[in-house]
């Protein structure tokens, strides 16, 4: 994709303008009827507009995530937005009760989230049998297949158990923070594992990482979706810090996962993610957890350099564990 952004490319932006530009140039986006982007992201908001300019008459929506202080205020706004979106997508104009169809969809996605959460739990418990690169591939596939087929595949995958050997020896258990919307190549995780790091947690596919809560399957489905969309949840970069204790909660989460170190991998030019790092670093140092910071730019960086950095990091973590 890189280098194909053409007139959309800007060197001081995250990779999304390049990706959309490259997709446009290559004709890869021609199969799409519309674009739906969720907030809060100023770049995606503008790119949704750029999509509308590009394809006059084509459907494109940027849906603000409600971030008001009060849950009731957020829910009321989200309710309006969910109903508007449902109307845009023609939910009411198709056969069958919209509520029933929405409930079916909620049930399906609850299964999907539960399956992915189980996958992540197994990875954290036993990274040797559930290597990060495979878990990541499986999680990423959630966005590429019809959900019905994907859920069946995922549940079968979990039933069969892992077959691939993961990191051997005495890997450093690390959490990868900050890559929430970058969608790095699977080779990114493979490289980390080759360097002796077992990835036991990440916020790449943040839905399954324990943040996406179960949506109620009974009652008014619009209300249920509004409450879910209006909840302040997600990777730190995506949500406001309600009580100033978010970093503290993150450190507790790392402790629950038994993490030995953290790889901070904020996307280049992403202000919200980059602005999290100083506070995270302070908290990690206070907690005595080793950390390493790298920049990840949409696959444009050298994985060889990452491997060398990760090897050094894994060694440092192991030596620290030995009290050296």
């Amino acid at each position: 994709m890189e280098g194909g952004g053409g007139p959309w490319a800007q060197s001081y932006m995250c990779p999304w303008p390049h990706r959309l530009g490259a997709g446009r140039a290559g004709g890869n986006l021609d199969v799409l009827d519309g674009l739906l982007a969720g907030g809060p992201c100023d770049v995606l908001r503008n790119l949704t507009g750029a999509w509308s300019l590009e394809r006059s008459g084509s459907w494109a929506r940027y849906v603000d995530r409600p971030l008001a202080c009060r849950a009731g205020t957020r829910r009321a706004f989200a309710r309006e937005r969910v109903r508007r979106l449902a109307a845009d997508l023609g939910l009411g104009s198709r056969p069958g009760s919209p509520e029933r169809r929405l409930r079916r969809s909620i049930r399906l996605y609850n299964r999907l989230r539960a399956g992915l959460a189980e996958l992540y739990r197994r990875r954290a418990r036993d990274p040797e049998r559930w290597p990060g690169k495979d878990v990541y591939r499986v999680a990423r596939a959630a966005g590429a297949f019809p959900p019905e087929a994907y859920v069946d595949f995922l549940e079968e995958f979990l039933r069969e158990g892992a077959h691939t050997a993961g990191v051997r020896g005495d890997p450093a258990r690390i959490f990868v923070a900050g890559l929430f919307c970058e969608a790095p190549p699977a080779a990114f995780f493979e490289t980390l594992e080759r360097a002796g790091c077992a990835v036991v947690g990440d916020d790449v596919a943040f839905g399954p990482s324990g943040w996406g809560r179960k949506v109620p399957e009974s009652g008014d489905p619009f209300e249920a979706l509004a409450a879910a969309y209006g909840a302040i949840e997600g990777p730190p970069a995506w949500v406001p810090d309600e009580d100033g204790r978010r970093v503290e909660r993150f450190i507790r989460r790392l402790a629950r996962l038994g993490v030995d170190g953290v790889l901070l991998a904020a996307p280049c030019f992403c202000d919200p993610a980059l602005l999290e790092e100083p506070a995270l670093v302070s908290a990690l140092e206070a907690a005595g957890l080793p950390w390493m910071s790298v920049r990840f730019a949409g696959g444009g960086g050298s994985l060889r350099v990452l491997e060398e950095q990760a090897e050094a990091f894994a060694d440092a973590v192991r030596l620290r564990g030995l009290g050296v």
Binding site: Y12, G49, L53, D64, P66, T73, G244, C268
Partner: protein, 428 residues
């Protein structure tokens, strides 16, 4: 304003001198705030709720303005580097780094006065999610509370009713109670209405000043010059008699200049016969403001309309604060600020400026620091050229960082662009 080494000098007009006096006086008041027992609220320019702050006798500080002033006076570099040393990436918005870069407790300065630390951070964020993270960084630094006002983006031609209700609900339940607690005063709706009357008067006169650029020659520069004129309205002087008086006097001054057929003051002197009428999209590079202006002035180009003069409110499309619907009109104001608009709405607006102001040049200035403004700029320029038939030029630098301002490169691009425009005119 002079810079002998860069070869430009600029004699300000009366409105620009008066603006400086007004803002410097306010900065001095801020410096005395602690001694006088006044409470201070930090907030942002787009969608700011200054009338509410007046209602509670609270003083507003705008960290963006303090940051741009530091850059403008070429005093920003130490803070930028200090912020990087403290872990703030160089890729992060320069305004943020400038405001967190000084030593803790050192505070920021404005017009030579030391700004007080905040008692409350009012994160009314419009069109920019970085604002939220910025104030979280300031909360860690100052340990004071934050109240958040989320203003959703605007994709249609007018604010949707649910968006207005959403903002009003936050004003009633979160913002007003927080300000009341801080100030120890009850909310007085009559004081708010009174402030909004002053706002609307100033807005009316400000629009007349901006629209004076429809004339030939334009008596103002609607980008560089307007950056001075807009400051009182976009900050602490909206909703005050002093603010309204400033804009009434400015309007008279500009009308007089128009009557006499005079153009705007620029670093290349007064341009009574500009060669080009340009529309500018994007903010200025504050650390090299004069040098950047000079590149256009030397080409004989005057801005007849700009989007930067709309970041604190889109008044020239009819919006006025309305004392009859105080909270609703504050919500509509915030929703309608320029950087909160979708790209198609922005394209529509800028294209209308090109037509209405009879512009023959189009400049898009994209800055590294501001993703909200700059993401999608190349596509926006394509669209503007298609809609207006006026070829444009895209320039890139930064709001505050000298190292992203390549003067030789910019000069080449600007000179080549206007030469091409002149040649096209000759052929036409």
């Amino acid at each position: 304003m002079r810079c002998a080494s860069e070869g430009w000098a600029f004699e300000k007009d009366e409105g620009q001198r008066a603006q400086k006096a007004l803002l410097a006086g306010y900065a001095a008041r801020l410096e005395r705030a602690r001694r006088e027992g006044r409470k201070v609220v930090y907030t942002f320019v787009p969608g700011n709720l200054v009338e509410l702050l007046h209602t509670f006798d609270l003083l507003a500080v705008y960290p963006e303005v303090a940051a741009l002033q530091a850059a403008f006076r070429r005093q920003g570099e130490p803070s930028l580097r200090a912020a990087e040393a403290r872990g703030f990436s160089e890729d992060v918005c320069g305004y943020v780094r400038l405001s967190v870069g000084g030593a803790p407790g050192a505070g920021m300065e404005s017009w030579g006065s030391r700004l007080p630390e905040p008692d409350l951070l009012l994160a009314a964020f419009v069109g920019c999610f970085t604002y939220v993270k910025w104030f979280e960084a300031l909360r860690r630094r100052y340990g004071c509370p934050v109240v958040r006002l989320h203003v959703p983006s605007l994709s249609g031609p007018a604010p949707e009713p649910e968006s207005v209700r959403y903002v009003v609900d936050q004003l009633k339940r979160d913002v007003i109670p927080s300000l009341s607690r801080l100030s120890g005063r009850r909310f007085d709706p009559d004081r708010l209405r009174e402030a909004l009357v002053w706002s609307a008067r100033a807005e009316e006169d400000f629009v007349a000043v901006l629209e004076s650029a429809r004339h030939d020659p334009p008596p103002i520069d609607a980008f560089f010059g307007a950056a001075y004129y807009m400051a009182p309205l976009f900050t602490a002087f909206r909703g005050t008699p002093e603010g309204a008086a400033y804009y009434r006097a400015l309007r008279r001054e500009v009308e007089e200049r128009r009557r006499r057929g005079r153009g705007p003051a620029t670093p290349a002197g007064v341009l009574d016969r500009p060669r080009f009428r340009m529309v500018v999209e994007g903010p200025p590079p504050w650390s090299r403001f004069g040098a950047f202006w000079n590149l256009f002035a030397r080409a004989g180009a005057v801005a007849v309309a700009s989007t930067y003069s709309k970041v604190g409110g889109l008044y020239d499309r009819g919006f006025r604060h309305d004392a009859g619907r105080p909270l609703e009109s504050m919500a509509e104001y915030a929703l309608g600020c320029y950087t909160n608009l979708s790209l198609p709405r922005r394209a529509e607006l800028v294209a209308s400026y090109v037509r209405e102001y009879r512009a023959d040049a189009l400049v898009v200035h994209s800055v590294k620091s501001c993703k909200s403004y700059s993401a999608g700029h190349p596509r926006l320029l394509e669209e503007l050229e298609r809609r207006t038939g006026v070829p444009g030029v895209m320039l890139e630098s930064d709001l505050v960082e000298d190292r992203y301002f390549s003067e030789a490169n910019l000069r080449n691009r600007i000179e080549a662009y206007f030469e091409r425009r002149a040649a096209a005119r000759g052929r036409g």
